[in-house]
């Protein structure tokens, strides 16, 4: 597009779209720095105020955010590490080891990826039988592996780990686990990074199942803590939004510096899949 008008229109369009994408974050910031009274003014106030720390303190007292943060970190940490290990291990086997039933297992994974997830009621009964209601294990254990993770890493191994590399390792006498650990893992690091970020984000933001099995305050996650604020203190907008803001900050802190790699990894994963 050589014409200046065309260029102007393109940039104008992109700026508008970016503005709409970012504005709710800005709005979150504005509300969390204003008093509750300010949130009920018309026309709305568009600039930040100086109440952030007061709001933070109130939000922190109302809903135990420290416990919630610790719980969330335990869950996201365990789930992410476990997914990286088990998914890549299964993916390695499905991609580069020959055994009977491999194709069937792969088909099975692909089918489950497309099925809607409606098993929550029996899952709740299982968790209940295990005595894991109001126990972090209720959300950790079912999430230790995922069909999505296995599939993503399998695609990655198919594309980037050459079969001859595996063969030569075998000729050198490496056992399968050594091959996986010393040869495959280092090559698929970018794929693992993508899976790690997706899993971390998904687990950090997970809400639906958590809201059912983690009802006690002592096991609340951050998402449940802000939902609790929102459900209980409906009129105290500034406090509720401050909660939402704290829940979002860590994600942005991770996303912004790594956005290029993350976006590239995700795009690659989806297009290959």
């Amino acid at each position: 597009m050589k014409s200046p008008t065309g260029r102007f229109i393109s940039y104008f369009f992109l700026v508008i779209v970016s503005f709409i994408s970012v504005f709710p974050f800005y709005w979150m910031f504005v509300l969390s720095t204003r008093s509750n009274a300010d949130a009920f003014k018309f026309p709305p106030i568009l600039t930040p105020g100086d109440q952030f720390f007061i709001n933070l303190q109130t939000a922190w007292e109302r809903s135990d955010f420290l416990t919630a943060t610790v719980n969330t970190l335990i869950i996201t940490g365990t789930v992410t590490v476990s997914q990286l290990f088990f998914c890549s291990l299964a993916a390695f086997a499905l991609s580069r080891l020959t055994f009977k039933g491999r194709k069937f297992l792969l088909l099975f994974i692909i089918i489950t990826l497309t099925l809607p997830n409606i098993g929550q009621i029996p899952l709740y009964m299982i968790i209940s039988k295990l005595n894991w209601i109001n126990d972090l294990r209720a959300v950790i254990v079912p999430a230790l592996v995922s069909a999505f993770g296995v599939f993503l890493i399998k695609q990655y191994i198919d594309a980037s780990v050459h079969p001859e590399l595996i063969e030569s390792a075998k000729v050198d006498g490496a056992r399968n686990f050594q091959t996986y650990y010393r040869i495959v893992l280092p090559i698929i690091k970018p794929g693992l990074a993508t899976l790690a970020i997706i899993t971390f984000m998904g687990t950090w933001n997970a809400f639906i199942w958590e809201s059912i099995v983690l009802r006690d305050e002592s096991v609340r996650t951050i998402q449940l803590a802000i939902r609790n604020l929102q459900g209980t203190y409906t009129r105290e907008t500034a406090i509720v939004v401050t909660g939402a803001f704290i829940a979002t900050l860590p994600l942005l802190a991770i996303f912004i510096p790594f956005s290029r790699q993350f976006i590239a990894g995700l795009a690659e994963g989806s297009v290959k899949g």
Binding site: F42, A93, I118
Partner: protein
């Protein structure tokens, strides 16, 4: 394929080792998956044949009665189906079309700060749904909301005054989140279209808009299909936005934004803990989603091919 011939110097033992390691390595995934993923979906059928309330008495076998009730005598269930489809249809075309346009513009060679734009547009995808919905709920609020301020419609209640507009508001939340994701997917697809196609079109005097409709969209067909298929499972399982915005399992006072998934959860895990009935909702949902996914696949493959 060259695998077997290459290590036949100890073929037997290596093949056995491979098989053993293979089963061992996939077993954590399959064991956990069967216990916590597959078994629950199947066991749902069993549960759905009972009048069954958790923590309240013994389950009673009633055959397909739950399904009969759902299909003949439950207006909330029908409402939830209509709402779910209404929101999906309202969301999907703008979502994919806007994403395509953004991807096309961002892909133009003269655009600078591409990474910055990409980051901004993708940022909504990273955020928690709970936080997003809280913010949108505020933006759409009746008396003090920014949306009503901009439109000059103070006093209009987006959640309660008009069912279809409440759906529209939900689709804005959904699309705000997903447009960036689709844009990124389409941009990856655009990399695979050869520049010569565009160059040839430019020499022939095609405008950018013509290029968009006659080159970009046709070339991206498989990826558009992929995003369309993906949107079905996501859209049909809409939950958090209506749950947070209308503050509970009801989907608003008139069930105006009640979705199928929300209805299943509310029935099974609300105060009644009516898991038998909830399981039946789950299975009907399962069937509806599968049928719709197939229909969607057939129709969009046809449409996209023509």
């Amino acid at each position: 394929m060259g695998k077997k011939s290459k290590n036949n110097f100890k073929y037997g033992s290596q093949a056995r080792k491979d098989a053993l390691s293979g089963y061992l390595y996939v077993s954590p995934f399959f064991i956990l998956f069967i216990v916590f993923g597959l078994f629950p979906i199947l066991f749902n059928i069993y549960v759905s044949l009972f009048s069954w309330r958790l923590f309240k008495g013994e389950p009673e076998f009633i055959g397909f009665q739950n399904y009969v009730w759902l299909l003949t005598d439950d207006s909330a269930f029908i409402t939830s189906i209509v709402n779910t489809f209404s929101m999906w249809f309202m969301a999907i075309l703008p979502q994919l079309f806007i994403a395509l346009v953004i991807a096309f513009v961002l892909n133009q060679a003269f655009i600078k700060f591409k990474d910055m734009f990409k980051m901004a547009i993708f940022m909504p995808f990273v955020t928690s749904l709970v936080a997003v919905t809280i913010i949108f709920g505020n933006l759409f609020s009746r008396d003090y909301g920014l949306v009503n301020f901009i439109l000059g419609t103070q006093g209009f209640d987006w959640l309660n005054d008009n069912r279809w507009l409440s759906h529209f508001a939900v689709t804005l939340m959904v699309n705000w989140r997903w447009i960036g994701y689709n844009t990124i997917i389409y941009m990856a697809g655009l990399q695979t279209i050869s520049k010569e196609l565009y160059e040839a079109a430019t020499i022939d005097g095609a405008t950018k808009i013509q290029q968009f409709f006659y080159i970009t969209i046709p070339q991206l067909r498989p990826i558009i299909l992929f995003t369309l298929i993906l949107s079905v499972s996501g859209g049909m399982q809409l939950f958090v936005e209506p749950f947070i915005w209308a503050n509970g399992f009801n989907g608003g006072a008139d069930n105006q934004i009640l979705t199928m998934f929300l209805y299943m959860y509310g029935t099974a895990f609300g105060p009644q803990y009516n898991i038998g009935y909830g399981a039946a909702i789950g299975w009907l949902m399962f069937i509806i989603i599968i049928l719709f996914a197939i229909l969607n696949w057939v129709v969009s493959t046809k449409l996209i091919k023509d």
